[in-house]
């Protein structure tokens, strides 16, 4: 057995024994969240951006927008696409290369939370510039810089916070609906409400909210749900090889709904100051 594998087993035993006594390795209660800090509008070249420090986890989300052709089956809709880079910067075990299954799942869970909540009105004329021909394509890229556990919630919060301060160039369309001219002036991305992701980890038989690194590595199962400001559950994902019972899921739905409010508030704070951080500065 390799040394890292032995450390993994010992770590899991430690976390499990603590949780059996109702304790966590960082001293939190089972449903406590770690401190969260969002720094909006940090990247000058991006249309919107946010750095999120969630406990020990650090992520950076950026939004780039370009005009492109809509998908043939949705000719009147703008396009959003989420990509996650679990950078080798973020931990000794994350290797470089194209996104692996872990990064793909992360990106798709974040993507579905935003997409299914319908908070970005894709048919809005500001996004669908010329129906069937020219629409805004929003690329949301999330970089994991420090992997301290619970990447799902941090990435989702960063993506939403970046969208909240995204501004698109104004466009002028010619009379024949053929040519589009981009202006230097920008306007906020249309948005109706917000959405946040909440992740629970099950270690042995205990369920915790916002797993830290040790709990994340030792978890048997994960459950993430995205909840909108209207209280609608718009996306859920159970992950890893462990299992949940029906009662456990029912409990988690209620717990999730009770924990979402502070996250949504933080997102709204990012949109109230679109001009904030004009220096595009952030500090670690």
């Amino acid at each position: 057995m390799r040394s890292e594998a032995i450390v993994g087993v010992l770590e899991k035993q430690y976390v499990t024994k603590l949780l059996e006594k109702g304790k966590r390795s960082d001293g939190r209660n089972l449903l406590d969240c770690r401190p969260i800090q969002i720094i909006p509008n940090v990247i000058k070249k991006a249309e919107g951006s946010a750095m999120v420090k969630w406990g020990d986890t650090v992520i950076l989300a950026g939004v780039k927008a370009q005009l492109g052709t809509p998908f043939p089956d949705t000719p009147n809709d703008g396009v959003i696409t989420v990509n996650a880079e679990i950078s080798p910067i973020s931990s000794p075990t994350n290797e470089s290369g194209p996104p692996g299954p872990r990064a793909v799942e992360l990106a798709r869970v974040v993507d579905r939370g935003i997409r299914e909540s319908k908070i970005i009105p894709m048919k809005d004329p500001k996004l669908c510039v010329i129906p069937g021909k020219k629409v805004w394509i929003l690329f949301i890229d999330v970089y994991i810089l420090d992997d301290g556990g619970n990447l799902f919630d941090a990435a989702a919060l960063g993506a939403m916070a970046a969208l909240a301060n995204t501004r698109l160039k104004k466009v002028v369309i010619d009379e024949d609906l053929e040519e589009v001219t981009l202006l230097d002036e920008k306007e906020p991305l249309p948005r109706k409400g917000s959405v946040a992701c909440l992740t629970f980890a099950k270690v042995n038989n205990t369920i915790v909210y916002d797993p830290n690194l040790l709990e994340d590595r030792g978890k048997d199962a994960r459950f993430s749900l995205a909840i909108t400001d209207k209280g609608i559950i718009c996306s859920m994902q159970k992950g890893e090889s462990g299992v949940f019972t029906e009662e456990e899921f029912v409990t988690l739905l209620d717990k999730g709904s009770s924990l979402v409010a502070p996250l949504l508030e933080k997102i709204e704070e990012c949109s109230q100051f679109p001009e904030m951080n004009e220096m595009y500065h952030f500090d670690f």
Binding site: K44, S49, E85, I89, D141, D283
Partner: protein, 251 residues
Amino acid sequence: MTQDKTSLLLDDGRRLDGRELHEIRPITMKSSVLDRADGSCYLTWGNNKIICAVYGPRELHPKHLAKPDRAIVRVEYRLATFSVNERKSPAPRRREYELSKLIKESLDSVLFLEKFPNGTIDVYITVLDADGGTRCAALTAASIALADAGIPMKGFVTGCAVGKVADKMVVDLSDVEDKDGQGDMPVAMNYNTGEITLFQCDGEFTTDEVKEGLSLAIRAIGEVYKMQKDAVLAKYTQIEESIDDLGEEEE
């Protein structure tokens, strides 16, 4: 290209961002910014923002790459998708492969690699916001992250680009000056020993201009080098101060 595409100097002889010809942009450097990495550095250089993490010396996989007499250095220089005007695909391009190789070769010369046979030192650099001169800034950040990881070094590699704008040699090109100017000449060196570890140029320069550029670059590198030393020391100064504070409390 013999002339600038647009006028890059103002009527008073200053540059578009208000700098003097030989003035470098404001720089900040901070070491030990990442929890998981063995060494790290966050560096801002004008509007450039660069994060660098170092892992190692550590075991090398795959094993066939290992050198029995020394460690190898692996460098990955990447541009974040949102760091440039048009969104860049996350897959690395030829430019990123080439710069990774040049940065690796530059760092090789200041590391005591023979102390870590069969091992690897991995340097990961991501440019989060790009504004010209990223390779020099990346090398500068990488040296700090290596020192922060406690890896024995002969010195720092410090970089600064010079270039030609409106027929004048200028220090530390911005993005616009790099794209629309007459030439770009990145230089990096071990300032203490005078060994130049990276030297490139593209554009049109006379022999005298190259000589002038090199000497301007070395002078600018001297300024950046001082900041690098302070950034590495800052962590230890902080620790020292906190120990002093503890001592005072006990008294």
